[in-house]
């Protein structure tokens, strides 16, 4: 593609799409903003995919644990009726729930020198995870936020609006194409700030200054190709029995030059616009753009690509060449695909499963590479995803809370889901959305707990990296309080987010039916017979008056007890 133009031509494509379907998409009024929706992609009319009979309730629940923030009684019924494929089609068409418009008014009302609180973002997150209709999109955005990591912990602590924009960008691209996504990630000012390629300047032989290598390294290691050359099934290619490294220090140094000269977006082009965020009040939500004056013109070599020395610096053109090179690398399918499987379905997919997802990445059936819808179909409709895997994956803490909210129709009294940081492992979840301690996420895809059960068998358990003697008790105590009294800021003596236990309480006089329902909503499979007996005995031991003022309360207490005894159990915590 001609230099200078990829972003603009994408915008043009969006405008054209908008013209083709008048009224369907809001007009793009700001040529400097991110597009309002993903670009159109050529897709097969009827995608090739495994066919399944209509799911049983347990199968439907299993699918919803993977593809959403948790099953609800309503979504279970809907999925049983529609089947997986039609459910996916419907989700692909569901309009995106956006965070940015909800944050903008608060941002606009800010006094100079004041910052928004991160709680505002968390509230949007919990509201969307509990209630948004575009569940698949939001759930995939969360998964992407754990691969293409930016974090409130560190230099972005006050960038609440920018982080909302980043989240919306993840969601917009969740069903788009990977090449556009990679570029929007790269250009996002939150990523530019977090991995410091924003305002990155070309080398200066006089002072000895060299380009910042941070983004060049992490886009290779974490976002696209990883450290080793991979077979299509995700296994490492070997030479003389050793893995083959995908890049070396020279590749980093060469690629680092490409990511020079990018800074604040918007119409301004002066040095002041390059240097100072105060020149562009919306710098935090506008894609970064190239400033030729600060972009390296010397030869750039990386991964076999050579960009000749330039008379006129061409940041946009170079970026296009670099991202195309990465996007076309055969590693991306298995590298990204395996991580997406791990985030949604299982920690240890078989090589064949990874290969099937990689194939969908390489070609969506209409010759298009990087179609995220094709990748998601492959991840979620794979036979291995639709039958219980022996090891499964540990549910990460944030998803446990969202599953509880959805299972019991949690409502926010304020309507805002006022839940603050859930960071503390000693009395909360030990995890808040978008607050990873580093770009390496809360947990690594290759994490292996110590001891002999995993490593020697080649098995990994990423989410176990968050599990400690402190967090197991902290979580159990947090859920005990949450199940009992709700969660979130307390006003008027009541916490903001309250479950509605009434539907389940209707089953309270039939403990087996009650437990069946709790199991179905939260874990899809059953507790082992011993555990079931134990939980049922505990429920039955809770006296249920036939009538009177205590009767309703006792019914709810039975639901709460059943819920707690399920949710603290490793049988629930491991999603299979």
């Amino acid at each position: 593609m001609a230099p200078a133009g990829r972003l603009l031509s994408l915008l043009a494509a969006v405008l054209l799409a908008a013209c083709a379907t008048p009224g369907d998409a809001p007009p793009v009024s700001d040529p400097w903003a991110y597009p309002a929706r993903a670009a159109e992609i050529r897709r097969p009319r009827s995608p090739e995919q495994p066919r399944y009979a209509r799911p049983t309730p347990a199968e439907a629940s299993r699918f919803l644990q993977q593809a959403t923030f948790g099953a609800t009684p309503q979504t279970l019924v809907a999925l049983e009726k529609s089947g997986y494929a039609r459910w996916l089609d419907a989700q692909f068409r569901t309009p995106q729930t956006l965070f940015l418009p909800a944050i903008e008014p608060a941002h606009a009302a800010l006094e100079t020198g004041k910052n928004l609180r991160q709680d505002l973002f968390f509230a949007e997150f919990w509201k969307a995870s509990a209630t948004a209709p575009d569940q698949l999109r939001q759930r995939v955005a969360f998964a992407l936020s754990e691969i293409f990591v930016v974090s409130f912990d560190g230099s972005l602590s006050a960038r609440v609006r920018g982080m909302a924009s980043y989240w919306d960008m993840l969601g917009r691209n969740a069903f788009g194409d990977f090449r556009t996504f990679l570029e929007e990630v790269t250009r996002h000012p939150m990523m530019g700030t977090y991995l410091s390629h924003l305002k990155n300047r070309k080398e200066d032989p006089k002072s000895g200054r060299v380009p910042d290598e941070n983004y060049a390294r992490e886009i290779l290691q974490l976002f696209t190709i990883g450290l080793h050359e991979l077979n299509a099934d995700g296994s490492a290619k070997l030479r003389d029995g050793q893995p083959i490294e995908t890049y070396d220090l020279d590749d980093i140094t060469g690629l680092a030059k490409v990511f020079t000269g990018f800074s604040y977006g918007g119409p301004g082009t002066t040095d002041a616009h390059f240097n100072r965020q105060s020149e562009e009040p919306r710098w935090d939500i506008l894609p970064m753009k190239g400033y030729p004056k600060f972009h390296a013109t010397s030869e750039k070599r990386f991964l076999g690509v050579v960009i000749a020395p330039q008379k006129t610096a061409d940041p946009e053109g170079d970026l296009g060449i670099a991202l195309d090179r990465l996007f076309r690398h055969p590693n991306v399918g298995p590298f990204f695909g395996r991580q997406l499987i791990q985030r949604l379905v299982t920690s240890n997919p078989s090589p064949a499963y990874v290969a099937r997802v990689a194939r969908a990445f390489d070609d969506n059936g209409a010759g298009v590479r990087g179609d995220m819808q094709a990748v998601l179909r492959a991840v979620l409709l794979d036979p291995e995803a639709r039958t219980a895997t022996p090891a499964g994956k540990l549910r990460e803490p944030v998803l446990r809370l969202s599953q509880w909210m959805r299972a019991f129709g949690a409502r926010s009294q304020s309507g805002e889901f006022l839940i603050a940081s859930t960071d503390n492992p000693g009395n909360s979840l030990g995890q808040s959305p978008m607050r990873s301690p580093s770009v390496f996420n809360f947990f690594r895809p290759g994490f292996t707990p110590s001891g002999v059960a995993f490593g020697p068998r080649g098995l990994v358990a990423p989410e176990l990296q968050l599990v400690s003697e402190t967090s197991v008790a902290g979580y159990a105590n947090f859920m005990q309080t949450t199940i009992e009294a709700g969660v979130g800021r307390a006003e008027g003596g009541q916490r903001d987010v309250q479950a509605d236990y009434a539907p389940a309480a209707a089953l309270a006089d039939r403990p087996e039916a009650l437990l069946d329902q709790v199991e179905l909503l939260l874990m899809s499979q059953r507790l082992t017979p011993d555990a079931r007996t134990r939980v049922l005995d505990a429920i039955r031991a809770l006296p249920l008056p036939a009538s009177g003022p205590g009767a309703e309360r006792a019914r709810r207490e039975r639901v709460k007890l059943a819920t707690l005894l399920v949710m603290v159990s490793p049988e629930y915590l491991v999603q299979k």
Binding site: N200, S207, L249, P437, S450, A476, L542, V568, S569, V574
Partner: protein, 459 residues
């Protein structure tokens, strides 16, 4: 450990390796240690690893301050060089050196000979003479240099991400038999760290407030059910699968730790003047980690735990100063220095300063060249050792010539390490009581290095 008991250790370790690691951990080590227990040391010793995640810029941590030596340093990093007059002088035999101005409390410890510097240490497979040898030959080098997560793992465990046994964990394997409650041999106050893990040792991860119990797990009624608490106790560890088992094991350790520790720690509460943080450090994450470590050390003798050898881990993140380095690093180093000095004060107050050694580690050093307002990924770096047993007031290892294109510059001022992490670790392991013959169990590569004891600790 004698040769015979070492062989026995290995044999039994191998056999026990087939068991699930966690639940029988105490049994395993108590069993292995039967012989070793007879030679249980009379004194208490502990090492504390302070890991600076993200890679601390060593070039601005210990800096040449002689006019002739400072100049090439300053020339190499315009905009990032610390002014000569702001450097805090420390005594040294080779060169005039100064510490980053935020390190005043460490300068004091150094002057009191209770802290030392280890210069240009980093992971190595074998010694590499100089940058020419590094470039010209196929001399073995650590895998995945310059990659954060991998070099963190290599510093801690000599193997890239996915490593399963760190040298802290291996030291704990060998010494756990000296402790009545082996569970507390390796303790992290900073979450998961492979440094403390091994096939036989699972680190205990404590929160900064102490051990946490499962609420109402012994209550007479839970949500109105008299059988609720019993069901809760059973449910938190239930489940037979692989991951369920791993989770349940942690729950088991959590319950045991709480049972043993809560009463012991109550004897040395945060309000005890010996372990009280000053107002300026009360909210400091690193200081709070060191406070719980200080409390644990303070009660090591309590009958419920009875510890003789312990390995601790604390950490501070955000050292990856690709930009904004001057301000960011100053804040981070300020926290390190103040927290470490406070910790030494607490050890003094507990009368244990000669028995506890703290040392720093980090992913890698950084480039000498500036990228504008920050630095990029390097290799060797400088580190601190602090405690009453330290032969302090000295620089160990070889302080490099700080300039570009020197013998130790492999590019942009990335330092080729002149001392290996193995030697650093061996010195600490020896001090803890690991026998010379056992060092290869902890440090498989130690045979490649001439100096298994760098001498910075008194026996």
């Amino acid at each position: 450990m004698s040769q015979a008991s070492r062989r026995e250790f290995l044999r039994r370790a191998g056999a026990f390796g087939l068991l699930r690691a966690a639940a029988p951990l105490g049994l395993q080590l108590a069993g292995i240690g039967a012989a070793a227990a007879a030679t249980r040391p009379a004194d208490y010793r502990a090492i504390v690893c302070l890991f600076m995640y993200g890679a601390n810029d060593a070039h601005n941590t210990v800096v040449p301050r002689g006019e002739a030596q400072w100049r090439p340093y300053a020339d190499a990093r315009p905009g990032l060089a610390l002014p000569r007059e702001t450097l805090l002088p420390i005594a040294s035999t080779d060169a005039e050196l100064g510490l980053h101005p935020a390190l005043a409390p460490l300068q004091t410890l150094y002057a009191q000979q209770r802290a030392a510097v280890l210069a240009n240490v980093g992971p190595l497979m074998v010694p590499i003479r100089d940058a020419t040898e590094f470039r010209a030959t196929n001399v073995p080098r650590p895998p995945k240099l310059f990659s954060h997560n991998d070099q963190q793992a290599i510093w801690q465990a000599f193997s890239p991400e996915g490593a399963r046994a760190g040298w802290g964990g291996r030291i704990a394997d060998l010494l756990a038999a000296h402790n009545d409650a082996p569970l507390f041999t390796a303790i992290s106050a900073a979450g998961n760290a492979v440094f403390l893990a091994s096939e036989h040792t699972q680190p205990y991860q404590i929160g900064t407030g102490g051990a946490i119990g499962f609420n109402r797990s012994n209550a007479s009624s839970l949500f109105g059910s008299p059988q609720g608490a019993a069901a809760l106790r059973a449910q938190i560890a239930a489940g037979g699968g692989l991951m369920e088992g791993a989770y349940g094991d942690v729950v088991g350790r959590s319950v045991e730790a709480h049972a043993r520790l809560s009463a012991a720690l109550a004897k040395l509460p945060e309000s005890d003047p010996r372990v009280t943080l000053p107002p300026g450090l009360e909210k400091d994450g690193l200081a709070r980690q060191l406070r719980i470590v200080a409390r644990l050390i303070g009660v090591h003798d309590d009958a419920a735990i009875a510890q003789r050898r312990q390995v601790f881990f604390v950490s501070l993140g955000n050292f990856d100063t690709h930009d904004g380095q001057l301000a960011r690093q100053a804040g981070l180093l300020g926290s390190v220095a103040a927290s470490v000095a406070w910790f030494q004060g607490a050890m003094d107050a507990l009368g244990l300063s000669n028995q506890v050694t703290l040392f720093t580690a980090s992913d890698f050093g950084r480039t000498l060249l500036s990228n504008g307002d920050g630095t990029d990924h390097g290799w060797g770096g400088h580190h601190f050792i602090a405690g009453g047993a330290v032969r302090g007031g000295r620089v160990y290892g070889r302080f490099p010539e700080v300039a570009l294109n020197t013998a130790t510059d492999i590019g942009n001022g990335r330092l080729l390490p002149t001392t290996s992490v193995d030697e650093y670790a061996a010195t600490l392991a020896r001090w803890m009581g690991v026998a010379p013959a056992d060092l290869p169990l902890v440090l498989p590569n130690i045979g490649h290095f001439a100096q298994p004891d760098l001498g910075f600790l008194r026996a």
